[in-house]
């Protein structure tokens, strides 16, 4: 059924597991730091992407699948999510264009 014969070792899983938990703890540390919200957000986003990457690569066995699977799936999702960033322009506009402010 599954032709990807490669089996990750349990130690590898454990390492990834610990790494994910450590990153989660790291995020909490960042959350309590006294820097502006945008920087907190960016750091958290990067860490979350690293976490997700670890989960996809190891837990979800993307590493041992054919490369084409990753090339078929991931760019699609990343592309669509990247395009949604066009929303932000309007979100910022709402801030200073709320009515009845004057």
């Amino acid at each position: 059924m599954n032709s990807s014969g490669h089996q990750s070792s349990l130690t590898m899983y454990l390492l990834v597991y610990v790494a994910i938990l450590v990153i989660s703890a790291l995020q909490i540390l960042i959350a309590y730091q006294n820097i502006d919200a945008y920087r907190i957000f960016i750091r958290m986003l990067l860490l979350a992407i690293v976490q997700a990457g670890l989960a996809v690569t190891f837990f979800m066995h993307m590493r041992s699948e054919k490369r084409t699977l990753a090339l078929f799936l991931l760019p699609a999702a990343v592309f669509v999510l990247a395009m949604m960033n066009m929303f932000w322009y309007d979100s910022f506009r709402l801030l200073d264009m709320r009515p009845f402010a004057h």
Binding site: R93, L94, M97, R98, P99, F100, A101, H102
Partner: protein, 267 residues
Amino acid sequence: MGKIVAVTLVLITIASAVPILAHKWVPPDDISTHGYLIDEQMSDTMVEAGICFVAAQMILAAFIWMFSNRKPGDKIRNFPGGAMGLVIGAFVLVGLEVLALGFFGSKAWAAIYFTPPSADALPVQVQAGQFAFYFRYQGPDGKFGPIHPDKINESTQNFYGLDMDDDPASKDDIVTAEMGIPVNKEVRLLMHSKDLGHSFYVRELRIQQDFVPGLDLQMHFTATKVGRYEIVCTQLCGLGHYNMKAYLNVMSQPDYDAWIKQQASMQ
């Protein structure tokens, strides 16, 4: 049958092109300072689109005429240049056209939207609601009184929710149902919606902008011709939508002064 298809296509193409070529169906005369950009862009696009339309339909018709139900002995032939020729041709020609249209279109857009209004522009506030527009002028003090949405009441004619007792700035505000502006003077339009999405469309001014609830939008324009023009709502806003309209009255400066005085006395 193929030949009938071809002839029909040619006839449809001609019938479609004639009204355009006859200049019968054109936008009403432009009365704004920025409208010529849109009109020029429109006629440029019309030329390119018209050529593409006629050419494509005619070639399609010609090929259908030539190649439908041929004699059994006729050989299958290939289009000269093959697919690669067509692809490269399309890339170059359409690409250039797209770039040109996009570039000039952007310039027109930028001229309209990326230029700030001048400092002495006449501010006019417009509020869209089901199913009417109301306009507000600052009056002599040059200030708009604050809007209190909870005080909006159609039956007492307090369309803007003004508090006449506590806000001194509101006292001389002039609220009208018709928009009067002086000719050749820049107008800064402050737009907000009272309830839901509406739109502000004046064909002659080449202006259209949706009202978005929860968003204060601004536009500025200069009308160059005296006259009475229709303002319509183009967003479906309810059962009375077809009846939602107001008039834009472009007047000479003395006429405008008299008009605004008369409106002020009616408040």
